[in-house]
């Protein structure tokens, strides 16, 4: 008898230890991103900005050059926020699901479908300590979604997640406009992440920018943020 796919699980593998939630939140030996990640929509595409710091318990910087945004689809990227292990596994899973979908159906997943799938996995799986942003472009235009640890999926014109989110929001709130150019959005993303890295101990060590257009995803590293401001 044909197995009907579980909508809350990846098709290629079942979640390990789904009954034992990731307790990384209170554990100082597990690497976490701390993090400030921002996503901004523009008419020409999406800009995602992240800091580059990984920390243990928010008190020790365990890595100073983490790339916290990864391409998961021909025209979409996801940020790593929360437990590094949980976020990396989440990205590998979504990347393979998006690839399988496109190979079978000969068309890429819509960003809404990708966000729904990400929300289902966050809800149904052991990824309890993640809070990523999904940004992407499809035939309906530019989209950013925040995915919360319980599987909540919310679309917005711009969004921020991570320990520095209040600081970054403060910078974004007055400067966002719905017809920014990609270059203006990159500057704004850099300012928002920079505002957080100045004061949030979980965020710092430079900036990574991902620019998503209908042509694909471009990711650049910046040791020094000042030339972007």
């Amino acid at each position: 008898m044909k197995e009907i796919t579980d909508p809350y699980e990846p098709e290629l593998a079942s979640f390990q230890d789904a009954d034992t939630p990731d307790t990384a939140d209170g554990d100082d030996t597990v690497a976490k991103t701390g993090t400030t990640t921002v996503g901004i929509t523009t008419p020409d595409g999406v800009v995602i900005g992240t800091d580059r710091r990984a920390s243990l318990g928010g008190r020790f910087v365990s890595n100073k050059s983490v790339q916290k945004v990864e391409q998961i689809h021909p025209t979409a990227a996801l940020t790593l926020v929360g437990s590094v292990g949980g976020a990396q596994s989440f990205i590998r899973t979504l990347r393979s699901e998006a690839s399988l979908y496109e190979t079978r159906r000969d068309e890429p997943m819509s960003i809404h479908a990708l966000a729904t799938l990400a929300g289902n996995f966050a809800r149904g799986g052991p990824f309890f300590a993640i809070n990523p942003i999904l940004g992407g472009v499809d035939e309906d235009g530019s989209h950013v979604y925040s995915i919360d640890p319980a599987g909540g999926v919310m679309e917005d014109d711009y969004t921020v997640t991570g320990s520095g989110m209040q600081l970054a929001h403060g910078a974004l709130e007055n400067q966002y406009d719905d017809d920014l150019s990609l270059e203006e959005a990159e500057t704004l993303a850099a300012r928002a992440v920079n505002a957080a890295t100045e004061r949030d101990t979980g965020s710092g060590n430079g900036l990574v920018l991902a620019t998503v257009t209908e042509d694909g995803v471009e990711i650049t590293h910046h040791d020094d943020v000042t030339d972007l401001l």
């Binding site: 044909k2 009907i4 796919t5 909508p7 079978r104 159906r105 997943m109 729904t116 799938l117 289902n120």
Partner: protein
């Protein structure tokens, strides 16, 4: 001895004959050919499914003869062959439709749905101790605003069509469709052509109660059964019966 060997290819569905044939699959196609016909016609406005459900007794409740099955809001199937086998495939199709909606929050594509059905059908041509599905389906629906029409057969192969038929009298219906089909026709003309196809196989006037017609409409993106009164009107217009 010769006879016994011949029978062996015959019985095991997982066993090829020396000339590369799967007899059980061919017999299943025969079961389809013995069923009453179903016709599908794709037009620019939508897809039409029409099925013959002539009753073997006037005492039977017509609605209990299932030939056309809604699968989701935007897609449905018509069958020819073993109705019981069709019901199992229809249930799989319905569940796949809902899983796709739950998983991706988007309506399942007609092609994706058809292939999930045929992948299931194929398993039964390669699994010991089982028999193939003795049914062919026409899958009709709307995908990204476009009308799509597919066929599944007992081997588990999917085909896409502009217009086609499954079941008894298929060759005659196909000859008519190949002659009369026009890709520019509207939905009403498509319904007329599908009914003419059924009449071709039946070789007698059609009774509106004995014909089941459904459409997948591009504008509403919905799969709906045509009321008997509308079927009667179409039959009268084409002089195919209905005025008794």
């Amino acid at each position: 001895m010769q006879d016994n060997q011949q029978q062996a290819y015959d019985r095991g569905i997982t066993i090829f004959s020396p000339d590369g044939r799967l007899y059980q699959v061919e017999y299943a196609r025969e079961a389809v050919a013995r069923g009453s016909a179903s016709v599908g016609v794709r037009t620019s406005d939508g897809v039409v499914l029409a099925a013959d459900r002539q009753a073997r007794s006037p005492l039977i409740e017509r609605d209990s003869i299932e030939k056309i099955h809604p699968v989701g809001d935007h897609v449905g199937v018509a069958s020819a062959g073993h109705v019981a086998d069709a019901r199992k495939l229809v249930d799989i199709a319905r569940r796949e439709t809902q899983v796709n909606k739950l998983r991706y929050d988007e309506p399942i594509g007609v092609e994706t749905l058809t292939k999930s059905i045929t992948d299931h059908v194929q398993e039964y041509t390669q699994t010991g101790g089982a028999r193939p599905f003795g049914v062919a389906l026409l899958v009709a629906g709307i995908e990204d605003g476009e009308p799509r029409l597919f066929e599944t057969d007992p081997s588990g192969t999917p085909y896409e069509w502009e217009a086609t038929a499954v079941g008894g009298g298929r060759d005659d219906i196909m000859a008519l469709l190949e002659e009369e089909y026009d890709p520019e026709m509207d939905l009403a003309s498509g319904i007329g052509l599908a009914l003419e196809g059924l009449a071709e196989a039946d070789d007698q006037d059609l009774d509106p109660e004995g014909v089941h017609v459904a459409t997948a409409d591009v504008e509403s993106e919905s799969f709906d059964t045509l009321p008997t009164e509308d079927v009667r009107t179409h039959l009268e217009e084409r002089d195919l019966g209905g005025d008794q």
